[in-house]
């Protein structure tokens, strides 16, 4: 059985309270067995149906932006694993161009540092960045809270979710985290194969691609999450000048041009690629690793000289990467 219910602890405590209704587990965070343990502290903020639904409503609400034009889901769309297929650099209020490409959102409960530079170390705080960024939603938290408080529907929804009649930024952030924590992507063909579900098996090309990937890519795109969560420079041309990446946070020169290794789950859905969305296809990405790696003082040593691969190997790797697409996730009616 997959479900390892995180709310266990919570339930232990709540056990004595009279009139406790059995909540539907489809709105409970379920730890996939083949994943590392979640990093989010669910004791502080357990997912409930009312909290999740409130979080979804907030995620899709343009009230979170200054001119009521942009919601989280403007830049993070479910059909493409909550990334943004339209814009190389994200586009916020008044068509303001951001500095980075909007990444897909999934398996956030297993992530401990967010953003491509790791500037945010708690999922609860991520929306503050989006809301207050001038090139994203350009709003203040204070105003968002005021807009929500003025809305009877929200007052009721917060009451249902948290039993609090006063809407605060903290509760809003917790609701958004409940929604985002539920965005677990663990139902791809790859997952079926590694867990032995549905009699799934890789094709010959996928198997060859997996072997190539393990030898050449998995040192960074590691484990079932396909990221070791470290910061690395993968040799993109002109990085340092354009976006200092991790060094914006660590403030050391040795981190210039390093970005958090992204997960490659759902990667066939999340184009364009890299922090600035410079590549439109996976072919271009592989050509970069083969021919385009630029040497610099911060280039990851493992990528010096690029990664040699034949066009057959490229096709195999792409076949393997496609097994990471989680169709149930991108079509899940709960999200």
């Amino acid at each position: 059985m997959r479900p390892l219910v995180f709310a266990l602890c919570f339930m232990l405590f709540a056990g004595c309270q009279p009139g406790e209704t059995q909540s539907d587990t489809s709105f409970t965070f379920v730890q996939p067995e083949h994943f590392p343990p979640a990093t989010y502290d669910f004791e502080r903020n357990p997912v409930t149906e009312a909290g999740f639904k409130l979080g979804k409503r907030l995620f899709e609400d343009v009230r979170l932006s200054s001119d009521n034009s942009v919601s989280c889901s403007t830049c993070h769309q479910q059909a493409v694993a909550f990334s943004d297929p339209q814009h190389r650099l994200s586009l916020g209020v008044e068509e303001r161009v951001g500095t980075r490409n909007a990444p897909g959102l999934f398996n956030l409960a297993f992530t401990s540092e967010f953003m491509l530079d790791g500037g945010i170390t708690h999922l609860d705080f991520v929306p503050i960045n989006a809301i207050t960024s001038e090139v994203e939603m350009d709003e203040t938290l204070e105003n968002v809270v005021a807009k929500l408080r003025a809305n009877a529907g929200y007052r009721e929804a917060f009451q249902d979710a948290f039993g609090e009649d006063t809407i605060t930024s903290g509760l809003m952030l917790q609701a958004l985290s409940q929604y985002q924590n539920m965005l677990v992507s663990d139902r791809s063909k790859y997952d079926d194969v590694v867990t032995g579900r549905n009699d799934a098996a890789f094709s010959a090309a996928e198997l060859r691609g997996e072997a190539f990937f393990k030898n050449n890519c998995a040192s960074c795109h590691a484990g079932v999450l396909f990221t070791d969560q470290s910061y690395r420079n993968n040799g993109l041309a002109g990085d340092g000048a354009q976006d200092a990446g991790r060094s914006l946070i660590s403030e050391v020169g040795t981190d210039i041009g390093k970005f958090r290794v992204p997960s490659l789950r759902n990667v066939s859905r999340t184009a364009p690629y890299m922090h600035d969305g410079r590549f439109e296809t996976l072919d271009e990405v592989l050509l970069h690793y083969r021919d385009g790696v630029v040497s610099s003082s911060t280039l990851d040593p493992g990528l010096e000289g690029g990664i040699a691969m034949t066009s057959d190997e490229m096709a195999d790797v792409i076949a393997f990467l496609e097994t990471l697409t989680d169709w149930e996730f991108v079509q899940d009616p709960r999200f």
Binding site: F13, C16, D41, R44, N45, G119, I120, T121, H122, L123, D124, F125, V126, I128, N129, T132, S133, T140, L141, E142, V144, V145, F162, E164, T166, T168, S169, G170, L171, L173, Q174, S177, L248, I249, S250, E251, V252, D255
Partner: protein, 289 residues
């Protein structure tokens, strides 16, 4: 997870075990102790020659203060976080102010805002009876507080004006104003970059990042009293502490030249020296018994 939240958890668990399912409040765990009041006052100048401090209006060219370099300035915004307060006494007394963070509140984290007189004083409760001659606190909010996630009360980012979103965490100390010597261009809570005399110093940074320079700018401040403050039946002392605003700009670590230094500080590395100054700018003034 730091120990205090673990203790809290154990305490809650124990409480639960004792009270079981009947939810009567008859066994309330009363901790014997009294109140110890802590009062902050922002002042200008050294203890033997100090002047009162007040905030100026944004845009004001009335410069009430002069720094050690002879540059005139005023202050429009001054806020700082005090947390992890500890009292100690000559006979081994020790009191640690309990701390906790939830989505709707924060205990043990105090935001001192020059623009809000009520914020200048706070009470430490349930301090065990005894004598105390030392107070220490953290200037800032450490990683434990940050990693609790969504927070309310004094930490609420919607109202505190003290949260960094891009390098997420609480800024320990913010001071903003205007100086005749400044070339402007700074921007902060009260100062806009069109203000041609603006000065803005946001001193934050709480992370210890492996393998990089140490950029945790939260400083621990220890102040000794010249007398014992007694807590007990009918004894509720107040410790009066001061921050010398001028010493923030001219302290052990750096002297800020409003004409030539960086007067638009927003990065941990840029604020590191000034954070040491700020911590050293606190002093004990007197105990009111």
């Amino acid at each position: 997870m730091k120990t205090y939240s673990l203790y809290f958890f154990l305490f809650a668990a124990a409480l639960f075990a004792f009270t079981g399912c009947d939810d009567d409040d008859d066994i309330s765990p009363v901790l014997e102790g009294g109140t110890f009041e802590v009062e902050f006052e922002n002042v200008f100048g050294p203890q033997d020659n100090q002047r009162s401090f007040s905030l100026s209006d944004v845009g004001s060219t009335d410069y009430g203060f002069t720094n050690s370099m002879g540059q005139d300035y005023n202050i429009t915004f001054l806020r700082y976080y005090i947390s992890e307060v500890v009292l100690e006494g000559p006979d081994g007394e020790r009191f640690e102010d309990p701390m906790s963070v939830s989505a709707t509140g924060a205990e043990g984290y105090y935001l001192i805002s020059a623009d809000d007189p009520s914020s200048m004083t706070f009470d430490l409760e349930n301090v065990p009876a005894g004598r105390y001659n030392k107070i220490s606190f953290l200037l800032g909010v450490d990683s434990t507080g940050v990693q609790e996630g969504a927070a309310g009360g004094s930490l609420d980012p919607a109202t505190s004006g003290m949260f960094w979103s891009w390098n997420a965490g609480y800024v320990a100390f913010k001071i903003e104003g205007q100086s005749a010597a400044s070339a402007g261009g700074a921007s902060g809570n009260t100062i806009e970059n069109t203000n041609d005399k603006g000065i803005v110093f946001h001193l934050g940074g709480w992370k210890d990042i492996d393998g990089t320079a140490f950029r945790n700018n939260n400083q621990r401040v220890t102040l000794e009293f010249d007398t014992n403050a007694s807590v007990g039946a009918g004894l509720e002392p107040t410790a009066h502490l001061e921050l010398d605003v001028d010493a923030v700009f001219n302290g052990p670590e750096t002297t800020i030249d409003f004409a030539n230094s960086n007067v638009n500080v927003h990065r941990p590395v840029d604020g590191a020296d000034m954070a040491v100054n700020a911590a050293a700018a606190f002093r004990y003034d007197h105990i009111h018994q």
